[in-house]
Symmetry: C2
Subunit: 358 residues, 2 copies
C-alpha cells in the first residue's frame, strides 16, 4: 500500500522541462474566461498559480491548453444537461450502463474504497478518455481534406482535448504503475472503443459529442467525490501526497502543490470538456457543424467583443449564467473587452448546460 | 482559363484573421535553425518576412508551425536518400509507381502542361498528403494511452505536419475549385489511402515514414520544377498572381507576396517533412522509436546546446552538412546557444539525408 507516490520526493522539475503555450499568454479572450481582465496580472508564463519553475519561458513542447485560476478550479460543480431528443436518451443510457460496468470492474460496488481502487479507476478511465478527441479530430481533418473546405477551428480543440486526457493519464501513472492484467484490459478496451467510436462518429457526430458530454459529467462527478473523500480524510495516502513534477509543470501549479490541487485542475479540465462537447452536440443539432468553433481563440474575440462584455467563466457556464452575460447582463463584470476586432462573423448564442444536480 | 485566382483582388486580410504561434516567437532553437541568432531581429510576430498584417499579435488559432526566412526558402534543393534495406527499396518503388500513376492521371505525360494541370495535380496530392501525419499521430497517441508511456513529442510534430498539409490544400483551393469528377476521385483515394496507411503503420512504422520521406522528396522536386516553369515564363497565369490572403497570413509573407513566394514556402515545408520523415524512419531502424523527437523544441535545446553549436538550417541538412555541425565543425557559425539547459537527455546523432541529385 505504500507504493503510491514512491519516488516522488526525488522528482525535480528538470531545467528546460516541457512547458506550455497558453491561452492566458495571449491578449485575447477564451469563451470560458481564460485570460480575462481579473487575471491580467498573470505573466506570460501563464497560470493563476505561480509558475511551474524557473527559466521555463519559451520552451513550449505540448499543445496550447487551459491553465485554470484557483478561483475557477474551486468553483466547479457537477452539472447535467437534460436529454431532449431520442439520440440524447440513448447516449445517456449508454453512459449510465458503462458507468455501472466500470464501477463493478473497479470494485466500487463492493468492499472499501481505497486509494488503489481510485487510481485504478481514474487511470483506466483516462486511457479511454483520450480516444474521442483524437477520433473526432481525425475525422474532421479528413472531412476538410475530402470536401476541400475549412474546418473553422474544431480540429484544434478536439486534438487539444485528446492531448489533455493523455496528460491526465501520464500524471496519474506517476503515482501507480498498473500490472499485466490491468494492461491487458486496457488493450482490449482500446481496440473496442476506438473502432466503436470511429464508426459511430461517421454515423452521428452529434450522438458522439453528446455521449462524451455525459461521460464528462460523470468525470466531474467522480473527481468531485474524490475531493470530498480526501477532505473527509477517507484517503490518507492522498492527503499528504505532493503533486508530481509533471503536473506542477503542465498546469503551472505551485511548487508546494499537493495531489488535491492536481485533482482540482483535472476536474476543471473535465468541466471544460463537458461544456465543449455539449456545445458541439448542440451545434450539430442546429446544423452548425460548419460554423466557427466558439472555443477557438479567434471566435472568442469576435463573439464577446461584439457583445461588448467579458466572456463568462467556466463557473458561469456551469451555473447557467452564460446566456445572461451574452445578452449583456454583466452583473458588475467589467466590459473592457478589446474593441479592435471590427469584423465579427455572424453567430447566434449557443445553448448551455443546465444547472447542477445536487 | 481566367478562373484561376478569380476574386483574389477583393480578398483582404481580415482584422483579427487567424494567425500563428511560431517557433520563432520563442527563444529556443529548432533543429532546423528556426529562431537562430541571425533571425534574432524577428519580432514576436515571427516570420523572416514582414508580418502578415497589422494588429495580429496574440490572435493565434492554428498549431505552431515553421515560418521560413527568405534565405531558407531560396536555398532548398531536391534531395534523395539512397535506399538501404529491403523495406526502403519497396517504399521507393511504391512511390515511383504512384508518381507515374499520378502523372498519367494529371495529364503530365501527354499534351501541354498548363496552370490548370499543375493546380489539379498539387490539389490532388495535398488531399492525400494530409493523411500520413494524422494517422501516425493518432497511432502514436493510442500507443501512449495503451502502453501508458510518454510519447516524447512525436505526436505534435506529426499532427503539425498533417495541419501544415491541410493548409497547403486550403491555400491552393483559393485559386481553383475542383469539379465533381475530381471530388469523386479525391473521396475514393482518401478511403483507400487512409485505410492502407493505417494498416501499414500498424505493421511497419519505419516503412511508412520512409515511404512518406520519398513522397516528400517528390513533392520538393515537383515544386522546384513548378518554380523553374514560372521563372521560364511557361505559366503566365502564375507569373502575375498575388498570393491569397490566407497564405500571406499563415506563412507571414509580405503584403506584396506573389504566388511564387507561396510556392517557395510550400516547398520549404515539404523539405522539412522530408527531413522529419527520413529521420523518423532512421530512428525506427535504430530502435529509437521511444527516443525524444529531435524536432520538438525541448529536444532541440538539449541536443544542440549540449554540443555547444547553433543548430543546422534546413539547407544545411539538405546539403548533408548537419553531421559536421553536430560534430562541432561550425564553419564560422556562431556558438551562442543558450547554455541554461544543463540536464540533457542522452541521445546519439541521427543520420541525415544524402546530398541532392541534379
Ligand atoms: Fe481526463
Ligand atoms: Fe475529459
Ligand atoms: Fe504539401
Ligand atoms: Fe509534405
Amino acid at each position: 500500500k505504500k507504493e503510491i507516490g514512491k519516488g516522488l520526493e526525488e522528482e525535480k522539475i528538470r531545467p528546460g522541462d516541457r512547458s506550455q503555450v497558453h491561452f492566458r499568454a495571449t491578449p485575447t479572450k477564451h469563451p470560458l474566461g481564460m485570460g480575462s481582465p481579473k487575471n491580467s496580472s498573470v505573466s506570460s508564463e501563464g497560470g493563476g498559480r505561480s509558475s511551474g519553475g524557473k527559466g521555463k519561458k519559451g520552451k513550449e513542447w505540448s499543445m496550447p491548453h487551459e491553465i485554470w485560476s484557483a478561483e475557477e478550479v474551486n468553483s466547479i460543480k457537477p452539472t447535467h444537461k437534460d436529454p431532449e431528443e431520442a439520440v440524447d436518451h440513448i447516449a445517456l443510457r449508454g453512459v449510465r450502463a458503462l458507468r455501472w460496468f466500470f464501477d463493478v470492474l473497479a470494485g466500487f460496488k463492493t468492499g472499501v474504497i481505497d486509494e488503489h481502487k481510485y487510481l485504478n479507476r481514474v487511470i483506466f478511465l483516462e486511457t479511454v478518455a483520450g480516444i474521442p478527441g483524437m477520433v473526432a479530430g481525425t475525422l474532421r481533418h479528413l472531412t476538410s481534406l475530402r470536401r476541400m473546405r475549412r474546418d473553422h477551428g474544431w480540429i484544434h480543440t478536439l486534438l487539444e482535448e485528446a492531448e489533455n486526457e493523455r496528460m491526465h493519464l501520464l500524471t496519474f501513472l506517476k503515482l501507480k504503475q498498473p500490472g499485466p492484467v490491468f494492461r491487458f484490459a486496457v488493450m482490449i478496451s482500446q481496440g473496442v472503443m476506438y473502432n466503436a467510436f470511429f464508426l459511430s462518429y461517421l454515423i452521428s457526430p452529434k450522438a458522439c459529442h453528446r455521449f462524451v458530454g455525459y461521460i464528462e459529467e460523470e468525470a466531474v462527478h467522480t473527481y468531485t467525490v474524490l475531493l470530498e473523500d480526501i477532505d473527509a480524510n477517507k484517503l490518507p495516502l492522498f492527503s499528504n501526497l505532493p503533486a508530481p513534477a509533471m503536473a506542477k509543470s503542465y498546469w503551472k501549479l505551485g511548487d508546494d502543490a499537493m495531489f488535491r490541487d492536481l485533482v482540482l485542475a483535472v476536474r476543471a479540465d473535465e468541466a471544460n470538456h463537458c461544456v465543449v462537447n455539449h456545445t458541439f452536440a448542440d451545434m450539430h443539432q442546429e446544423f452548425k457543424q460548419d460554423a466557427v468553433n466558439p472555443f477557438s481563440i479567434h471566435a472568442s474575440v469576435t463573439k464577446y467583443a461584439d457583445a461588448g462584455v467579458t466572456p463568462p467563466t467556466v463557473a458561469d457556464i456551469a451555473n447557467g449564467d452564460a446566456d445572461d452575460i451574452a445578452a449583456g447582463n454583466t452583473n458588475g463584470r467589467s466590459t473592457d473587452v478589446n474593441p479592435a476586432s471590427s469584423q465579427p462573423q455572424p453567430q447566434k448564442p449557443q445553448p448551455q448546460p443546465q444547472a447542477g444536480r445536487a
